[in-house]
């Protein structure tokens, strides 16, 4: 397990706890009281730390190396029913964007999402979760296929941004994202969006338009990453904490601004500290959201969706 700087007190206590347990196992000394005590302190410390996370700390949590990624959720939620589908039928199969069909209970869903890697090799393979135009086109192809057969769509958003590359521009990164956003506003099946990690700008919105947009507690979603914002506005990366605060990018802030629909609670200590529990909550959140939409006609669905996005924005006069 890896620890972030503000998690160090937790690390210390966990190490103490393990040591105490080891002593208990190796010798005859009864350590159960000590263990209980440490456990209690651990819980309190966790609560204390996680109660008052700053925006920047949440950004850090959203990028925690042990955090579950899209395929982890899908495998846990769909089990054996998962069938991955590849390719944009155009130029490439983008490894940073995955998709396919799977079941939750008796209901089929089309899943789409950015995928990050868990070590150096797979991070490179997944291009750090930064999709190219073909990734967005693959996502759209799959969503259109779902629409054809009346299958609801679930997207998992976790990207530091769409890939800013030469070839990505040649193949029309902007066009690909724009096309997705437009088509998603009028897709005839329910779309449930779950922000599971980073929601960076157009790269996130390219698969992020939906009837229900859910954000996990320790994720961020904004028009730019705090680092880039800091370097553009403050002309230095040093002000990322300030930028994170100013951008109002946490789940709570986004909900307050009515730019997302709901917050999904994470276990104490973040999604990575109890993955099974996280998978369960997300699965239930998806099912609940789908219940809400499954009896709406495509016309109602689309008109509600269009209204929702038409109402975003604040202005005078």
């Amino acid at each position: 397990m890896e620890y972030l700087d503000f998690e160090l007190p937790i690390k210390e206590l966990e190490e103490q706890y393990q040591k105490a347990c080891a002593i208990g196992q190796e010798s005859e000394v009864d350590v159960s009281a000590t263990c209980r005590q440490i456990e209690k302190r651990l819980n309190e410390t966790k609560k204390e730390i996680y109660k008052n996370l700053t925006a920047w700390q949440r950004v850090q949590l959203s990028r925690h190396p042990n955090r579950p990624y899209t395929l982890d959720y899908i495998h846990a939620i769909c089990g054996n029913s998962w069938l991955e589908l590849h390719g944009d039928r155009n130029v490439k199969d983008d490894k940073a964007m995955i998709g396919g069909l799977g079941k939750i209970g008796d209901q089929s869903f089309m899943f789409v999402g950015q995928q990050k890697g868990y070590n150096t090799k797979t991070r490179q393979y997944r291009n750090f979760g930064m999709a190219n135009p073909e990734g967005y086109r693959k996502a759209l192809r799959l969503m259109k296929s779902a629409e054809k057969f009346g299958i609801p769509v679930v997207t998992f958003v976790d990207t530091p941004g769409a890939y800013p590359g030469l070839e990505a521009e040649e193949r029309g990164q902007g066009e690909a994202i724009a096309r997705n956003i437009l088509e998603m506003t009028r897709l005839k099946v329910p779309i449930i969006v779950v922000i599971i990690g980073e929601g960076a700008s157009g790269g996130a919105l390219g698969i992020g338009v939906g009837d229900k947009v859910l954000m996990l507690e320790n994720t961020w979603y904004s028009v730019i990453s705090p680092e880039s914002c800091s370097s553009i506005l403050w002309r230095s990366w040093e002000y990322k904490e300030k930028a994170a605060e100013a951008l109002k990018l946490t789940a709570k802030d986004m909900k307050r601004q009515k730019l997302i629909d709901e917050i999904v609670k994470e276990p104490l200590g973040g999604a990575h500290s109890n993955r099974e529990m996280t998978f369960d909550t997300v699965k239930n959140a998806i099912t609940e959201a789908y219940e809400e939409f499954k009896n709406l006609s495509p016309e109602e669905l689309i008109s509600n969706r269009m209204d929702k996005y038409s109402n975003m924005g604040v202005f005078k006069g």
């Binding site: 069938l83 590849h86 130029v91 199969d93 069909l101 089929s108 073909e134 057969f149």
Partner: protein, 285 residues
């Protein structure tokens, strides 16, 4: 010292007396692995030694995909006419007759309906051994009629491509089968009936420019050659060396044209899993 000493001199055996293994008992895969023919059949005609997918025909695919090998063949007796009185080194009519005699097939595709995992499925499967699996009017018509059958009975359609391309002896009639089959698939798509395209070794020329690439999912067997222009033509035209995996199923998947590659042993499962998922049916075990 020699291990064996030749005691008798000048032994000669006539060819017919030589103890030879009868033909068809063994199969040699391209990597040189030798496989027992019976074992090969049990293993879905895939070499257990190196996973090589041996080219097979409609008979074998029907056996693999239909429950208990039970199916009803559609339009069994459709055969080619020779509208152009075509003649190359041989008369087209003679070529047809000899292909029919040699293969026991009427043309390069067979279409059938039957149960796969308990549910109806229409399959059109091409046969490479009939004039290179070339697509003429009969292939086009049979695939179109199979699509009609799927449309009428609301049954998913699967086309198994295995073809060298269009049939030159039917010239432009052959070309127009691309349009004819594609038009039918458009109707099928409008009716929201799933269409699965399986590309097997080889799927080239006109088939890739029509039904082979138009599936709701396009899938392939490992290592299958799939492409529009053959590798030799591409190399001669461009004068460039081609990548080693050029036009393999893996190459196609990497370039975004295949949804997945499946081993033959998994084929029946995967196809039916897709059908259940996309039609929102309970998954069949």
């Amino acid at each position: 010292m020699a291990w064996f000493r030749r005691t008798q001199k000048g032994i000669q055996t006539a060819t017919e007396d030589k103890k030879d293994v009868p033909k068809g008992l063994w199969y040699k895969s391209p990597t040189g692995k030798i496989v027992d023919a019976e074992q090969l059949e049990k293993n879905f005609y895939v070499s257990p030694e190196d996973g090589y997918h041996v080219r097979i025909g409609s008979n074998e695919y029907f056996q693999i995909l239909f429950d208990d090998n039970q199916y009803t063949e559609l339009d069994k007796n459709l055969t080619s006419k020779d509208p152009l009185n075509f003649e190359d080194t041989k008369k087209y009519t003679d070529r047809l007759a000899s292909a029919q005699e040699k293969t026991g097939l009427k043309d390069a595709v067979r279409t059938a309906v039957g149960k796969s995992k308990g549910k109806d499925l229409v399959i059109a499967c091409m046969d490479f051994k009939f004039i290179g699996g070339s697509m003429g009017a009969v292939v086009g018509e049979k695939i179109s009629r199979a699509a009609d059958y799927a449309l009428e009975h609301k049954i998913p359609l699967m086309v198994i491509s295995k073809s060298g391309g269009a049939r030159m002896m039917e010239a432009a009639y052959s070309l127009m089968q691309l349009a004819k089959t594609s038009a039918k698939l458009a109707q099928l798509a409008d009716a929201k009936i799933p269409y699965i395209s399986l590309c097997t070794d080889p799927t080239t020329g006109g088939t890739t420019a029509s039904f082979a690439m138009l599936g709701d999912i396009n899938i392939a067997e490992p290592g299958a050659l799939i492409g529009f222009a053959g590798p030799r033509v591409v190399k001669d035209t461009t004068g460039k060396d081609l990548p080693e995996d050029f036009q393999t199923a893996e190459f196609l998947k990497e370039h975004g044209f295949l949804d997945f590659i499946t081993k033959r042993s998994e084929l029946k499962n995967k196809v039916n899993q897709y059908i259940d998922l996309i039609l929102n049916q309970p998954l069949r075990a």
